[in-house]
């Protein structure tokens, strides 16, 4: 009777299959469309910096798997009717595999860049700092030996990934000999391991240096992988419980879970294509460009397309930054006014204003930038690009000297410090050397920043320079003078860097810092 049950509903079965296939192919086509769209913009840094090649081939594999898999499901059921088809575990395995490699490299590269930028300035303040502590750990990423092995995609592929991949593949191919369940369970375990590694790497990835929404993409992909993992586990359990097809025919199970797998395929591809475009505001640019092309009906080559798209991208990026910043400014001023205003207006605050005032609390001032380690580090990186880093180095080291001196001076502690520095920033080698006297420290600082042939000669007026050099030559400033001796200098540097900061405020880096600063 049970077997009859399976065969009674042949027309229903066919209808189910057709609908299923149409559904899956529609999803796959949507994915294909976005893959194509994203491919047009692959040369943009926001796309190119995500290991696009790897993402592209993962997506192609998924797409092929989607199409052929559902196609064969359809074909086999129609032709051979009850032919047993296995959902392709190896596809699942391969996806997890590439996904993990991709994340590993992104993780590596993010840290590599941070380490590079730190390497440029940390040693200016303290040559030993790069060997110990947080800065020392970062140096692992820039070591040539690591850069050429674990940091190099080619090396990783040829030495670790490929052998391992082949090994696991053989294992998975041999597993069905023991039992289907073992094979599926092995797939799940391996895939789960990948997802966990990715999750850990994702959590450790610093968001404040992520200007292209990498972390966001990772998170959504992680969600889809978890979704796939869960549905595959359910699928395996169902098939194990109902291995004799007692409740439903096998066909029904396959159809139901095919929908899940198709959703995963589509979700995964669309996330790494369309969502990435949306997050970076590229969809509207593509749309505008297409519209303009239709109006002008120009047959253009790929290069001119690239050119005009990149111009559009630049323009929109600038516009976006401008809008956001004026918004931040606006609410910043508004908040200031509101302190004096009565609360009457608060009643009519719309959602938008609420969101904006939320944003305004995140608009960072120069003082705030200097007071946190990570913001300060990003700013130094920018200042390096403008060759204005000597000013910040001066601020850091001279302020540390001032703080050091004022600690020794019981009376001066209640004086407000000019600039607050993060406590975990690199400690100056000169200031924190206990073997040196205060005078020696002062002299070394003057030699480093003030003298006319100094390495980091600062752009300060003659008056201040002469004053400091005179003190340097006379070797007689008393320790109570040491506290305030560099004050004018620090203020001057703070003023000088303001110009650089005003340009920093228009960068993606600044916006990202404001967004992640809470």
């Amino acid at each position: 009777g049970e077997i009859v049950m399976t065969y009674v509903s042949i027309p229903v079965g066919i209808a189910l299959l057709v609908l299923n296939t149409i559904f899956c192919w529609t999803l796959a086509s949507i994915a294909l469309y976005w893959l194509h769209e994203a491919n047009k913009l692959r040369w943009l840094p926001v796309i190119g910096n995500r290991y696009y090649i790897m993402a592209f081939w993962t997506n192609i594999c998924l797409l092929l798997a989607s199409y052929t898999h559902f196609f064969f499901v359809f074909l086999f059921f129609v032709l051979f009717w009850i032919c047993e088809i296995d959902n392709d575990d190896n596809v699942l395995y391969a996806i997890g595999y590439t996904y993990r490699i991709k994340t590993t490299f992104r993780y590596y590269n993010t840290h590599y860049n941070i380490a590079l930028s730190q390497g440029r300035w940390v040693a200016c303040l303290n040559q030993n700092a790069l060997r110990i502590g947080d800065y020392g750990q970062m140096q692992w990423f820039v070591r040539t030996s690591n850069k050429n092995t674990l940091g190099s995609p080619t090396w990783m592929f040829s030495h670790i990934c490929l052998p391992f991949f082949v090994f696991v593949l053989i294992l998975l191919e041999l597993a069905p000999i023991i039992s289907d369940f073992v094979s599926r369970a092995a797939s799940i375990i391996i895939f789960a391991m990948y997802v966990i590694t990715v999750a850990i790497l994702w959590m450790k990835m610093p968001a404040y240096v992520d200007y292209i929404h990498l972390k966001r993409e990772e998170r959504t992909l992680l969600f889809w992988c978890l979704f796939q993992l869960v549905s595959y586990i359910v699928y395996t359990i169902t098939l194990t419980i109902d291995s004799k097809d007692r409740y439903f025919p096998y066909l029904v199970y396959v159809c139901i879970f095919n929908i899940c797998f198709a959703m995963f395929d589509c979700g995964y591809i669309v996330t790494s294509t369309r969502q990435v475009l949306v997050w970076n505001d590229l969809v509207s640019i593509l749309h505008d460009y297409k519209k303009a092309r239709r109006v002008a009906s120009i047959e253009s080559s790929e290069k001119s397309t690239q050119h005009s798209l990149s111009v559009r991208y630049e323009q929109s990026r600038k516009r976006k930054a401008k809008i956001l910043l004026t918004k931040l400014d606006h609410t910043f001023n508004q908040n200031h006014d509101q302190v004096h205003d009565n609360a009457g207006e608060h009643v009519v605050i719309s959602n938008e204003t609420a969101a904006m005032s939320d944003a305004s609390s995140r608009a960072l001032t120069l003082r705030q930038i200097l007071s946190q380690k990570r913001t300060l580090e990003v700013f130094i990186q920018f200042a390096f690009g403008e060759f204005a880093h000597d000013n910040i180095l001066g601020i850091i080291e001279l302020t540390q000297f001032k703080e050091m001196m004022s600690k020794k001076q019981p009376g001066s502690e209640d004086r407000p410090s000019l600039i607050t520095l993060p406590s975990d920033i690199v400690k100056s080698q000169i200031v924190f050397d206990d073997a040196k006297t205060d005078l020696e420290k002062f002299q070394m600082l003057v030699e480093k920043f003030i003298l006319n042939n100094a390495t980091f000669c600062l752009n300060i007026p003659y008056e201040q320079r002469a004053k400091l050099i005179a003190a340097y030559e006379n070797r007689q400033p008393a320790s109570e003078e040491m506290v305030t001796i560099f004050d004018d200098c620090i203020i001057e540097l703070f003023d000088l860097i303001g110009d650089c900061f005003s340009r920093f405020r228009t960068t993606d880096m600044y916006i990202q810092l404001c967004n992640t600063n809470s």
Binding site: S301, K303, S304, K322, L325, T326, D329, A383, E386, F387, A388, H389, D390, N391, N452, A454, C457, L458, N459, P461, Y462, E463, R465, A466, K467, A470, A471, N474, Q476, P477, E481, T484, I485, I491, F494, D495, L496, I497, G498, D499, C500, S502, R503, R505, T506
Partner: protein
Amino acid sequence: MGGCMSDSQDTTDRNVEREIEKDKKQDTRAHKLLLLGAGGSGKSTFFKQLKAIHGEGHNDREKEGFKRQIHGQVVESIQLLIRQCKTVTKDPLPGIKDEDDEPFGNDDLDDARLSNSLKVEMTETEIAQFKIAKEFDQSCQYLLEIHGSRSALTEQLVTHVKSLWNECPAIQAMFEHRNKIGIPDSSAFFFNDIERIGRSDYTPDHKDIVLARYRTTGMTEKEFHIKDAVFKVLDVGGQRNERKKWIHFFDGVTAVLFVVSLTCYDEVPFEDVTDLAADVTLMNSMLESIKVFEDTLDFECFQKTGFILFFNKADLMQEKIKRVPITNAFPNYKGPQEFKPSVDYISKYFLSLNRVPEREMLLRFFFEYVLFVNYW
């Protein structure tokens, strides 16, 4: 047959396309222009004008920055004027005489040197003109106590600055010597307009922005699209310490825009500003400019690079030449103390420094806010 046709057409199309592409590439290749010059010569001013005319102009945020720079300039200038008056007349600085301003034992030394040189140069009556009257003591004290030149102009501050500038002859007298104490010419403009600048809703207009004096540190880079060409202009700082950084920008430069201030032949370079006793014939910004220009010309990588010499502040020069001869910087100049022959001499002098005859040298003159007036 049809297929054949379309094939050959495709090839021609592609060839034409390639040609167009190539031309376009050549046309739109960015020209890297490097703005160089001694401190205070007007590189950033030039940059600001470029931005106003060929760029997208200055947005509100940048204007906010300029507003702060202008306020800073006003406070800094008035502080300098007061301090110099006090030093010359040996009037103790009110309120904060001991601790903050003279923390070192070497002040006696400074004073001695100062008074020695002053005695030679100035008589008692001359010194007396810098004496700030007692009635301004409160204003002086208030202004000198402001720390950090970035503070916004308050109403009180505006009143003090205004009364000192308009009613105190000593400040005016000291301002006449601004060339020696490093006060920019444009400060007078801002002092005169202090009420407008001090208003809370003040936004700097084009003239204010161009006149604002601010020391650039490091390098700023901006692309300008002028007709079909792309110019990438690099603005740098001009003080001595900033010049050490220049070497980093020299790669692939199409042309150097060397800016020289025409009025700087009696101005003490920013890095040397001390007090009124400074001898402008020994060290002035023009000599500094010449030195910087010679050094720049000597760089190996610039042997084939074109130079465009911009003579800046021609309008101020027309005024200054009536009072001061250019012999401060050019002792060999024997011509009349007039604008045209003096400028001719200066430009010829600069051109003569070029020892590579095949190098292209262009001359341009411009005025503070009248743009690109071709003098020739």
